[in-house]
Amino acid sequence: MLLQVRNLRCGYGSLEIVKGVSLHVDAGEIVTLLGANGAGKTSLLRAIAGLLPIWSGDIRVNLRSVVGEPPWTRISHAMMLVPEGRQLFGDMTVWENLLLGGYHNLDRKRAIEDVYERFPHLKGRLRQLAGTLSGGEQQMLALGRALVARPRLLLLDEPSLGLAPLMVREVFNCIKRLKEDGVTVFLVEQNAVAALEIADRAYVMETGEIILEGEAADLVTNPEVRRAYLGKGYKEIWE
């Protein structure tokens, strides 16, 4: 088990957002976490990445508990979060963003070359400020920056958010390729259709709790999931 979360509770102030979540991600999998806005998905990811202090429960990466460690040590467990909204260093160049992604990777030159191969588009824009890229390019750069650190476990928060449909497909193709390259992916998405298509397993989160889990293929046909997250139930009713 690469990532194991047990009975995790956390929140902001006295407001409990994540109410006892347990889940796990095995090496080599793509696992997706679905749920509506405000279900607590992003808070859960922030807690796993160490950005949000947890109230109780346990987070283990490679069977070692990382609870209480500051966020900057997560990369020593080969874990990297690509946060919601890209969070690039907007006033720095594309190249500097990639370089800083490899802050702890002494072999960063080679890792950056690999990112060029994966996203040839970025190579022509190395000297451009990251904040001036288009939304799709920014997502590529956010992914690229994370990959320069050569993580084994990649946490992705809404990578398709705000992207044009064509870009969304490209991002999901890229995630599939990551799996082939041996990177384990924990994907938080609202775009349930696309996420279930590439995922091995899925969890569904509602108001801070996991209400469903299973093989992605099974969840696609689950009427509950279809009604709530795929929007197909409504279509059938109206047709």
Binding site: A49, P70, W72, P83, Q87, F89, M92, L100, G101, T132
Partner: protein, 278 residues
Amino acid sequence: MYAIVAIGFNIIYSATGVLNFAQGEFVMLGGMVAITLASFLPVPVAVAVAVAIVTLFGCGLELVFFRRLRSHSILHMIIITIGLSIVIQELALHVWDEKVRSLPYFTGNEASSVKLLGAALSPQVIWVLGTAAIVVVLLQLFYKRTLYGRAMRACSSNLEAAMLVGINAGNMRTAAFGLSAGLGALAGCVISPISMTHYEMGPGLAIKGFAAAILGGLGNPMAAVVGGLTVGLIEAFSVSVIPSAFKDVAAFAILLAMLFLRPHGLFGRPSGVSVREV
């Protein structure tokens, strides 16, 4: 000399988003420590040791007063720096006393002058300008060319993202405090022969340095230098228009005018207006 104080503001501001109102105290401490050491050490050694001591002092301040803070809210940290400024002044009053002191001129003496483009300058002025120039160039190289400098910029650009890529934000803050304390101390040493060192000099310098930093735009050492020189010049020229007792008014007027009209500085770009992607 406002320029170097302004640079000090910039360093901590760029790494942490905090305005360090104890920046003027670093300048005062640098001068005081160097003067004390100069009584038994040669001046260059005294200056070097003073800069080293104040650098460590700056790091220590961060470790003691900021590292353990539960919330690193900007406002909390700014208020702490104001408190530190007062405490350091009182300590300085006890350790030294209220006498005005100064280091000897680095080269020549009060009477000597250097002819430059028809103007007669005290050699110490050249020391000040030269130091400021070298500091700016080195800082630019540090920020733009080294991994560590880029990591410091990353912390100001997006602190969470910086922590996610594995930058130890706590250590960066310590380094920023040390660096700006050291530079402040260096400034305190080179200006000491001209403008003297006094336990109470800090707040005045801090406010004027702040005016310079705001004038240039926070977050850019080059702009800070231009801002510093401008504040100095305006202050000097104001004497010919208004009574010299009102000299300080000029700096505060600039500060207020800038905050009202162009809070992002002459060279800065407005922040907070970022382009959202399509």
